[in-house]
Symmetry: D2
Subunit: 349 residues, 4 copies
């Protein structure tokens, strides 16, 4: 692993693309050498083609890259996709067909039968779907990560899976950064709540079942649990907070659940993947934590924080979960996916 | 009803007291002529004893009132209590014993067996508990209104009651004003969520059952429904927003529920009580409403707004509710209680 | 004044147009019977053509009006213009040419030599410019109100004028609503300051001089004072706050200035115009006021609040001023202008 | 410099104390081995005695320290003072008398004639005041850093000093964290501006003159410039933003000023002190920067950011400045002071 692997970002000038550029900065395995965007930006320097919207300043060397068209050709084999959903389907498929490994944050292929919806700590086995994609005539493959709200819920639920998850009711309080740029208008969100995020509840309900499901031959058998989501936008900068109630088939005591959270680890931890948090789900003992502004930057945004586990009078247990929506919920998730794939030998031609 | 009825406020200099002073301004039936507070403030002008914390300025004539001790004596018969919970029990009882009608916003007596936890549109019949209070040797009485989070939930659920409420799961996003003054520290709540409000979840769970319960001889038989609350503080000025899922014994269609909400009325509407909203629960058709900042001041803060009714994959239906926590959830609630009591003839000696 | 005067709004579906619709609701003199907007909206009901963005709900009767093209024809003589600056020049001129009185909130004509930049309490005499507009061949006229930041400064400075204003240095902290809709992106302004508002500083500097200037024959001789503005956007919903330092030729004592503020009145007050605040500039004694969230709705948003007058080590005096940017700074300003014109007999054909 | 120097924090459990604890984490020269606080906390573990209010979690090893009384005795020679102003005078003097070097963030001694008000990039020469303190009978010394608003202004002005600063007019928009904990009540600051911060304007005006002043024998001759400050609290988490106008005796062109900013360096940069930013004042070219939320964490909070240099119609130039109020404005400032003192040999007995 001496020489870094060259990687590219599809849709690099947009908000999600910028999160990839930032997250990949100083990555020990990957080096960002290729940025693709829409025609309007091609042939310009990344610096000139991009209105940098993230905190801090644009990483220097990336600014000097020339923006390329999002067409297979001279791009590296490993590509992160930050494509807008409107165009992601065709472009991601074209790259996969041409032999690229497309590690995508876009929603377009998440629920496709032959595409892993990967959370490395939870369902590394889902990578075994990839060979199915050959039937599409692809020489490469597409792997996806979940929606930013889903991943916080799925990670928080993962330690509960052993107790038999039957029903999940989740209300989210989602940060402004989750809606991109310009995203939520200032006049709408200042000191206000918007109790609606288009398509979000459906995504959370479906994706959670797939993520926590089991590989069943050539597809994923979704978790047989009912999941209901209420999604709200709140005036928070980064970090989605979720109030969760869960019904379990087994009737574990609080100590068993807490122990399950504390010991929960996955392949990223076993293998020490560079973007893996030491502990993927961290339980906070303080009665009023986690809080997005105070906890979102811990563990470089890659862990999910859980607190306030207590009995629920309606389902069995209730708790609060919080995670970084643009890191663990987007760029960081995809990069961790690529790290897992590399460690599985899937990046070799 | 020519001459106005004199009323007083116990705990008038505090934040809740100020809400009473503001809400009673220009009231057609009641005239605030007496303000009581702790010893520190007595014998001073209300203006001098009070740091006015509400928007706008202190109503002129109240500023000239002299603050009295919170002891029975020269106070009017009808008193609104904004007492801090630490002292409310003894003081409210002393006034009730001495023949006063104490219409209290404090939590202390809400769950007492012989005290109505009154929401006039829902449970006017609970006023029939009052004679039970004679057994305490009181010449007067205590009547309470619910916690500010509870009342939004209870009002929103009231039209569902006919369908047999079995289970309710509610996540609140509560405004800063609900915590009084100085209340939530600025460094805690700026661009943040605090997923804990001490004692709030228990209050919501218990009070909702009592409010929606039925008079059963000498007490209230609580609604036999399981209620679970997740309570969160959010950076919103006024207005508690609640994501609610509900399971119903009857299996009504959406249209039946919407019709039930639209026709829902109570005694305050029938009798045209001055603080009654024309329609107590207002369903908003817009897909992203109600919103606290945009809707909280409608109907003078006395209605509860509901929106986004849709099937819940876990319970039967889910929706969002929002109401004004310091009006319908505090001062306005108590004043409406007093109006109902007056219209019932309960203010006559 | 029995029958109300019919009025129209140019650009009625936009954000400023909505402020006009709201402010004109229940106006005692004017009745909104005509709404104009861009082609896209014409022939539709106002309700259907407009995404209502203001707090509360759209006034009922206006919702039923049919949106008309912004071309002279069947519009009432008196029109309020909420046109976007990109199109306002031609459209306002076409209406003025056709005999309409265009009372405009747009910036386009404010600095034109023959157009009054009217603040009725300050410069009613500037209406005498109107006959100059005949030289353009117009049968009607255009009258403008200032930029929302300017008006707060100009009103606050008006009582100082008698002392000889020499230099003014102002830093604004401007509410989000000042940028319209969608306006400032949520990710930019949440818990942040944006120290730049395009074109704003220049407007404040020039407009203030014209407003406080004197009619000199056929034009306005601007106030010979140097004005410098720093304009910032802050996460406040409504109300522009301004830190002001001023140098005066006369060297008045604090008491003289305070007295000047307190007695300051103009024609709107003398004549009791319906939208006139009883006192146009209100001095607040509290050491930490005015504050936008707490004071912006007082006096129906039509007064300007001043506080903290104290010596300035650099210029002579410093103070803070605050006013409602979408009321006194836009719709309310224009309506007061029209009321003044009506009281001057300028609305008669 | 192999073995780290042991240091202590006076007032370690408070908010400023916590900032010291956080900033000293992993410091290459200093090791925090001693924490002092009021009697209430002594003899307890720091972890148990402290309600940790900062983002993230308390540094592990510090949690295990036992809190000591703030009395000379077993404390290390070098102490950082985060004492509350109410008690700082006596305690800091007692430690200085006993031979400690007290590097204080408290305001108490800042304006004392024999105490340096140190900003290492600007006035390292002021350290020559220290020997004057011997006349108080002290074996040690007190050195102070400025108020958090002052330091941003002083740093931004430092490159202007060569052009002859005559007058400075500054309006601040200060973050909530500047007021400590619980500090500004949430109901006061949510979506609001508070145009008053007690004592702040006086501090800024006086301290700026002393910082930019010259050593004149046994005291500092303050900069002969008039300074006026308007101080406002805004709903921002960290980072004070300042709108500044400045009059200069020399009449430099913009390019000369920009060049002066860009080349500005001090002893911390020359000597590569560990907490020194590479460039102390960074000019941002973007038209709408610096912004607190986006820029405050750059350069580990130790640089001051300047932007929007443009002519001022009243004084000569105007610009915006922004810096981290709890880092460069408090803990980081004091630590840099200590680093400078160490590099000057002042820590040797």
């Amino acid at each position: 692993m001496q020489k870094k692997i060259e990687v590219g970002v599809l849709g690099a000038t947009g908000m999600v693309g910028q999160h990839f550029v930032k997250f990949l900065q100083n990555h020990p395995w990957f080096e960002l050498t290729w940025v693709g965007a829409s025609e309007r930006s091609t042939a310009r320097k990344y610096r000139g083609a991009t209105s940098w919207r993230l905190d801090g300043v644009m990483p220097e060397p990336v600014g000097e890259l020339t923006v390329e068209e999002c067409k297979p050709g001279n791009a590296p084999r490993l590509l992160f996709s930050a494509m807008d959903a409107v165009v992601a389907t065709d472009i991601e498929r074209a790259f996969a067909a041409a032999g690229h490994l497309v590690v995508s944050n876009s929603k377009n292929h998440r629920m496709e039968r032959d595409v892993p919806l990967l959370v490395p700590e939870i369902n590394a086995a889902h990578l075994k779907l990839i060979p199915q994609q050959r039937q599409r005539g692809w020489k490469g493959a597409i792997v996806t990560n979940p929606n930013c709200t889903t991943v916080v819920l799925a990670m928080a639920l993962a330690p509960f899976k052993q107790f038999g998850i039957r029903r999940v009711l989740m209300t989210s309080m989602q940060a402004i950064s989750g809606a991109g740029y310009p995203g939520v208008p200032g006049p709408d969100i200042n000191a206000n709540i918007i109790p609606f995020i288009g398509g979000e509840e459906e995504k959370v309900e479906q994706e959670t079942q797939k993520i926590l499901g089991e590989l069943a031959g050539d597809h994923i058998a979704p978790l047989e649990a009912r999941v209901s989501a209420h999604c709200n936008r709140v005036p928070v900068t980064d970090g989605h907070t979720e109030s969760v109630s869960v019904e379990l088939a087994g009737k574990p005591a609080a100590e068993e659940i807490l122990a399950a959270i504390r010991v929960f680890r996955g392949l990223p931890q076993e293998r020490g993947l560079p973007s893996a948090p030491a502990q993927p789900v961290i339980y906070m003992e303080e009665p009023n934590r986690p809080q997005p502004r105070r906890d979102v930057e811990r563990e470089r945004g890659m862990a999910v924080f859980v607190g306030r586990l207590r009995p629920c009078p309606v389902l069995d247990w209730k708790f609060v979960a919080m995670g970084h929506n643009t890191v663990r919920g987007a760029a960081g998730a995809a990069v961790l996916n690529a790290e897992l794939m590399l460690s599985e030998g899937l990046l070799e031609p």
